[in-house]
């Protein structure tokens, strides 16, 4: 018995070596698998089960916050594909989110309302449409973006937000204008209203559950959508398209030399990313009553960048973690207001909790870039490495 297997029960030692060495991959297929180790499979399963059970444990207001976090996460995943994988910076995602939102709101809007609406409230119709229209707009903008690199791209996409804000504010027949606003899309799945409190218990044979509140239902809808979008993005990331993206990110000239079609791949990256942003925009505002065109401003774009950045550039799980941290920040800052002296929750005070919230956005950006550029994922991998080699530090 070798040193390595000493102490391991005979039952385990007889198994194939891969089961005890999660990082040993004996085939390309297992290396590229979605969940390429047993620990990851169990962990993802556990997280999903816990997430699905949360509506039974948390208050409705918390669920609302988390549902918003899921919508944010979809947008952050989209920006992650563009910035983290393909290395193209975009400060314009608020504009694409707006395009998606108005597409969805018009399709599901009241046909007799003051602004344009077609009354198709099925989410399976308006959500793909929102993504598609935003993706097309992204692809239209992309030719300009593919000519530019780095900070020039950041500035031109920033300009896009201002042009978009102007457009949304003036196009009153679609957006309702700044004074009226627009009602968000109605969430209806197979004819069942998800964004209204359930009236009767749902029964499936002898089993009967509910009725659920609208916050519980919306949370589950968002969670399922988040999982779908995240898996899709992960699959893009590990396909040939994703490899082309990372090649462009690492060195675009080198990528061009080895045969990556730069214009095409950058356009694809922009289209996918804006499609995600469009879906996020359509979903995020489903929990509010009325949306003003100036919601889609530069700050929303910056928020998306912050989510990607504090999550950890280049990983889908990082985008999700970052999005939830940002979504929970209002809660964190009001908690800080309780804990810290001088900080109050009264809006008339200079040092109040909403100020804290914005200052925290800034501090998070600066802190993570200075001390942990790999973001939350970086912190996690440090913790994991520390335990892997425990009790040795290397």
């Amino acid at each position: 018995m070798s040193v390595l297997t000493r102490g391991v029960p005979a039952r385990l030692a007889r198994r194939d070596p891969a089961s005890r060495r999660p990082l040993l991959h004996t085939s390309y297929r297992s290396d590229m698998a979605l969940l390429n180790s047993r620990a990851k499979r169990y962990a993802v399963l556990a997280v999903l089960a816990a997430a699905a059970a949360l509506p039974f444990l948390l208050a409705d207001s918390d669920l609302n916050l988390l549902a918003g976090g899921s919508a944010y996460a979809i947008g952050a995943i989209g920006l992650m594909l563009l910035t983290g994988y393909a290395g193209q910076v975009s400060l314009g995602h608020a504009f694409f989110a707006g395009v998606g939102f108005y597409t969805a709101a018009v399709i599901s809007g009241d046909p007799d309302g003051r602004s344009l609406g077609f009354g198709v409230t099925e989410i399976l119709i308006w959500l793909p449409a929102a993504g598609l229209v935003a993706a097309v707009v992204g692809a239209v903008v992309a030719p300009l973006a593919t000519r530019l690199r780095g900070l020039y791209l950041a500035i031109v996409t920033l300009g896009l937000v201002f042009v978009g804000e102007h457009l949304f504010a003036r196009w009153e027949s679609v957006t309702g204008g700044p004074s009226t606003g627009k009602r968000p899309p109605v969430v209806e799945l197979f004819g069942y209203r998800m964004d209204a409190d359930g009236t009767a218990p749902l029964s499936l044979g002898p089993l009967s559950v509910g009725p659920f509140t609208r916050q519980q239902q919306m949370y589950w809808v968002m969670l399922v959508l988040l999982v779908i979008f995240a898996v899709a993005a992960r699959n893009v990331g590990r396909s040939n398209v994703g490899r082309a993206f990372t090649a462009i990110r690492d060195r675009d000239i080198a990528a061009g030399v080895i045969g990556v079609n730069l214009t095409k791949q950058k356009t694809v990256a922009f289209a996918i990313s804006s499609g995600y942003a469009g879906c996020a925009g359509a979903l995020f505002y489903t929990t509010v009553l009325n949306v003003n065109p100036n919601q889609f401003n530069l700050f929303l774009s910056v928020l998306f960048i912050v989510m990607v950045l504090i999550g950890g550039v280049g990983t889908i799980s990082g985008a999700i973690a970052g999005a939830f941290l940002i979504a929970l920040l209002p809660r964190i800052s009001s908690w800080l207001a309780d804990v810290l002296p001088l900080v109050t929750t009264r809006p008339q005070d200079v040092l109040n909790d909403s100020l804290m919230q914005f200052v925290l956005y800034g501090l998070l950006i600066i802190g993570f870039l200075l001390f942990e550029p790999r973001g939350l994922v970086g912190i996690w991998s440090r913790v994991r490495n520390w335990w892997t080699t425990f009790p040795f530090s290397y």
Binding site: F162, L167, L355, G362, I366
Partner: protein, 296 residues
Amino acid sequence: MTTFLAAIADGLGRGSVYALIALGFVIIYKSSRVISFAQPGFMIAGVVLVTYLVEIPGLGFFGAMALGAGLIALLGLGVERSVIRPMIGRPVFAIAIITIGLDIILRTVAHAYIGPLVRHVEDPWGREMLTVGTLRMEQRHLAAVITATVLVGLLFLFFRYTRMGLAMRAVAEDQEAALAQGVSVGAVFAVSWALAAGLAAVAGSFAAAGVSVDNTFWPIALYALPVIILGGLDSLPGAVLAGVVIGVLRSLADNYPDALSWLGSNPSVIVPWLVMVLVLVVRPYGLFGTPEVERV
């Protein structure tokens, strides 16, 4: 014709404000190849500080502006030393994002000090007009033009004749060569951040002359982005000229809204951005900028 001349005069006033902010962007870009998105934050912080300083008796608008610009320059110095200096050697994009974080903090704190009401810089001009024959120009715009001209002249002398100016030009030319010659690159970065912050504060004070300062004041500073793209990211004369051009274009759009009616009401808000997109398509390095050469 009178409308046209008035629009030009108005544009010159606005343009000199844009030019001053844009100069800050360019000075930072030349020294460290980073576009600092913190300029709007420094500007609004400067303006709010000035609105408080003018309340000191005997200081007056110009005194408050000079003092405010000095204090904001010190703030810029501190920010550079504490947040930007540790980032040297990291990707420029990371530094640009840090400046966005700075901007959020500066703006939030400044807005908190505006309070529930609007504030004023108590400038001596208000909306008074100066009339020469048929030509009418707002006095505040004339003051902005004169101040901007003086400051640009001083900057020129600074870059041309002082040791620090020479060091800054050397760093802009070639950072490593300058370092090898004994130029303190760190000091150059610090001075460029201080200059940029101070210029933003002065520009903000003139932008606030005759109007009130509230939470929607800060986007004025963002018009400096189309300006630096038009003028070229690394060209100081370009920033001045393009600032005036963008200012005049905005005024023309305000005065002739019928010609731009297809852009909806109030087209002057997006004219600079459209100009910027046009420039980027035709000539991405701007009018006077250095074309970017990619070495493999």
